[in-house]
Subunit: 133 residues, 2 copies
DNA sequence: CGGGATCCCGGACGATACTG
DNA sequence: CAGTATCGTCCGGGATCCCG
């Protein structure tokens, strides 16, 4: 690579990758598939409130990125299984730490929100004007 | 907590936290602030293509979540500095591993995309019908 | 069952102008 | 400098129908 990746440059490929990770549905799908291979409607049932359109669309782009594998079995009716590729597995484990963070710190976040909504006092100092710069 | 967090439940708070992380701008801001304290327009310049509206909006919700701290200095014109809170720092380091993943695997992702766009051969097996289930 | 195609709405987002 | 306010647009994504 001729120039180092810069996610803050709008054109940089790593920025696009970051944006994809930023997809809320993609994150949930990766976390689920890290645990087990699932079929389309199984994913649909597990991820509450996702529409079939978004599921199908998100699965397709994850497949395009080489993160998940799509296997079609010629049964009637047809069966389609989704699983992580090796590449996808490396990402999924990273993404799962985000889930762990969320579960561990959800309390602190909610408390911060309540304080902020009350009028953001407490914890945040009001700076003296002596601190001019 | 009475019931365990379930990010797949649309109402679960951890799901909302995950969605916030899913915010593309939030991720970039956290990564930048992990490195150093920055002022509003400094952030604006560094994050290419962000509008002042989105920056202001994202900063506000990050502050509300207790992830960043906003400090106003009574200079003329006024100076505002943004920095991570302790809570924000724990998240930022996790998020930064995503950036590292993106930089490390961007090549593999782009190659997968090219293959997919060519007609998704190579690597993906066409299953024999004998594998009926 | 696992989607694709179409229609359509609301909210996200950008551009611009104004202010303390 | 660091925002807020207003407006207008665009498109993400839900709903629905259909098909192999």
């Amino acid at each position: 690579m001729l120039h180092r990746p810069d996610p803050f440059n709008a054109q940089c490929p790593t920025r696009r990758v970051l944006d994809r990770i930023g997809d809320k549905w993609a994150v949930l799908i990766l976390i689920l598939l890290e645990r087990e291979t699932l079929r389309f409607n199984e994913l649909r049932r597990r991820i509450e409130a996702i529409s079939q359109k978004m599921l199908s669309q998100t699965l397709k782009s994850l497949e395009r990125d080489g993160l998940i594998r799509r296997e079609v079995f010629a049964t009637v009716p047809v069966t389609v299984e989704y699983s992580l590729t090796d590449l996808g597995r490396t990402l999924a484990s990273t993404v799962d730490t985000l889930r762990l963070w969320a579960e561990a710190h959800i309390g602190a976040v909610e408390e911060a929100q309540r304080r902020y909504d009350r009028g953001l006092p407490a914890g945040e100092a009001i700076l003296p004007e002596t601190a001019l710069r």
